[in-house]
Symmetry: C2
Subunit: 421 residues, 2 copies
């Protein structure tokens, strides 16, 4: 009981310090490769040092805090998450995963558990893509998988490049551009990430913790343009080639498609985030001849994604024919499904049973660094912690009890799956 | 035959001169109370003088060209339309109605027909609302019905007020602000307007001319805002309060409503001209929490308009309940149905029979100065002439044969309905 109290206090005081470090009312801003993220890294590293962990960095200035295990030659296990946040975000999105890693280390120490291999808690840089419009900058840099051109991208607020920002924080952009990697996927036994849930499924289910069943893959059309005909408001229906009406029909068809998959209990999501007539041409008495939208379709199974892709094509073809419009689709992006390792998932389920923590099986609503590890071939698992009011806003609300349940599950997994025999 | 050829040449050369006067490639620009409209008025007045008509003006600088009839004390008949155009519009929208009036005068002269009353051909100012965002400026000024505040409105391109523009062209803004009227509705027996059709119904029907059955009334919501919740792209469907999806459902419901009325052969139209997510907040991976649209619903019968109004309310209520969103409707505008005078319409039908011109019965797709006369209590009728490619664009295309058929119908109506006995 004393041990649990000590871990609670460690977590609680670390969250408090991180909140003070990032305070930018409303909420916190931990800007990547900027002052906010730097303060968070310094705070976390200081606690890791107190816990006796070895501190290392890499060319992308990721933070590695390692607890040595029995066999330094065995594939190490990494527990990590990101330390940046969106502007005016909450305190837990990202940071909770790093704090959980440190709590697990403290718990292992407290119980005198020695692992059979090194355990590295990783504070990952620049996960929130809103800043540089590039996904997984820190984790993909560590794995030598930063995409071409990423270093030249400018942060939306500062207008300075990722390369400049990395260099400013003591990193090595040249090494990154040469794809020098710090982590060899073949030398990583497992990557674990704890994260707050960004949807209210756990709130709805009344459970504190979920075990991730997968991170969605997606296909995206960032900028579709429907071409119809701008016409006079008096034009009868049969003559119209109304681009906005075509957009509305497309949105409704996708909504019904999603309903259909929900009814079959096949998890997916589709989001039409931008959906608009042309501000330069639209007007109260003009039939819209141009319409623009973005589309993000995500699912947890490549076969489902392929099926949805074909359905979207068929929906577009039908609307084009019925309404005399044309969908200029523009570029298309794809991201592979981030598969959860079956044995890690089974181990986490076993541990939840052992600790009598009621868990939900949950497809990740969002993308996470864990997907970058999965893409590199590293066995991956995730734990979600109940959280109210969504994420990416100052109102996110994770109860410490729930966090401690998630951290206990992580600790149990490490202690039992990598126990030194 | 010689007479018809002379009228054809009058019309043809007048259209040519008007096109040269307004040339502003692509198309013509006859900017109201500006150089374009001024040139058109000068050209039309010169032809009217050659035809021996009496020329007058009023405080709004409308142009009155009068052929005296037998009895100056009888209620006069006015044949008119507007001489302005949209920027880079076509040559016929508006001007055709004035040219038709002059052609009718020439034809009456040629045949030696004396009317029982004065016939005034009216060149109306500033009908196209795109310039000052005010409807029917010239005709309502003439009738003493210019709305409050209109004189202070600025022309979108010049930034100068209507009052300044009117004064510049020799008008009297002070008289307009005092609602001094030039025309007493009680002293007008009929207002006739010939106009190109702005939709392709006549093209589709293969007929040259239509007799108007009414000018639509409307109700408008110029700026509706749907309030939902901005959320993370990973949020499952059941938790979403997607404002754009609510907008799409609304648009589709209106499209079905229109289909339903089409099936009942009740003419109406609805147009959602602006239809857009919030440019400051929308993004590829954000569920839209705000959506904006404009709505224009028009019909030819006040009872139908009232019915549609109630249906729109019911559609909104249903969507609000199903999707957890709220429609902030903002201001609502209404315009009364512009009823066509039954006896004028019957006379026009009789004349079409007499001339063996195959006519269509057609609700006006658009608004016209004739509606301002109807609103003032003047018996009103309209003739539409077949026109390809819509209006408000340089591609409008009216064949001279069709125009001459419309002008012949107008002439026959004047000669037979107001023949001096």
């Amino acid at each position: 009981m004393a041990a649990v109290t000590a871990q609670w206090e460690l977590a609680s005081s670390l969250f408090d310090q991180l909140r003070r470090d990032g305070l930018d009312e409303p909420g916190v801003s931990r800007d990547p490769y900027g002052a906010g993220e730097q303060r968070a890294h310094a705070t976390v590293a200081a606690v890791a040092r107190q816990l006796g962990l070895e501190i290392e960095g890499d060319a992308a200035v990721n933070l590695y805090m390692t607890l040595r295990g029995r066999d330094a030659s065995a594939k190490r296990v990494i527990v990590g998450s990101h330390l940046d946040s969106v502007p005016h975000g909450g305190n837990f999105d990202g940071a909770a995963g790093v704090v959980a890693g440190l709590v697990a280390v403290a718990a292992l120490r407290q119980s005198g558990t020695i692992l059979d291999r090194d355990l590295t808690v990783m504070g990952i840089r620049a996960e929130e893509s809103i800043w540089f419009q590039v996904s997984y900058i820190g984790s993909r840099s560590a794995l030598g998988a930063l995409p071409d051109g990423a270093l030249d991208v400018c942060r939306i607020d500062t207008g300075r490049t990722l390369a400049e920002h990395v260099a400013e924080c003591g990193g090595d952009p040249e090494a990154l551009s040469n794809r020098a990697r710090c982590l060899d996927p073949a030398r990583i036994g497992a990557y674990l990430e704890l994260h707050i849930e960004q949807a209210p499924s756990l709130v709805e289910a009344g459970r504190p913790v979920a075990i991730c069943t997968g991170i969605p893959g997606n296909f995206r059309y960032p900028d579709v343009r429907i071409e119809g005909s701008h016409d006079h408001v008096g034009l009868p229906r049969r003559f119209r080639r109304d681009a906005a009406m075509a957009g509305a029909e497309f949105a409704m068809a996708l909504d019904r498609l999603w309903e259909e998959y929900e009814a079959k209990a096949v998890p997916m999501a589709c989001t039409i985030g931008r959906f608009h007539t042309d501000a330069a041409a639209h007007g109260l008495t003009i039939v819209p001849g141009a319409f623009h939208f973005s589309l993000d379709v995500r699912a947890y199974d490549e076969a489902v994604l392929a099926e949805l892709d074909a359905r979207v094509d068929a929906i577009i073809a039908g609307i084009e024919q019925r309404r005399g419009v044309y969908f200029h689709r523009g570029p298309k992006a794809r991201a592979a499904v981030g598969a959860v390792d079956a044995s890690i998932k089974a181990d986490l389920e076993r541990c939840a049973d052992e600790l009598r923590i009621p868990v939900l099986q949950l497809g990740s609503p969002a993308s996470h660094d864990a997907a970058a590890f999965a893409a590199a071939g590293v066995p991956m698992g995730m734990i979600f912690v109940r959280n109210e009011n969504g994420s990416h806003n100052p109102r996110e609300a994770m109860a410490m009890d729930d966090f401690m349940a998630g951290a206990a599950l992580l600790t149990q997994y490490l202690a039992t799956s990598y126990a030194s025999r």
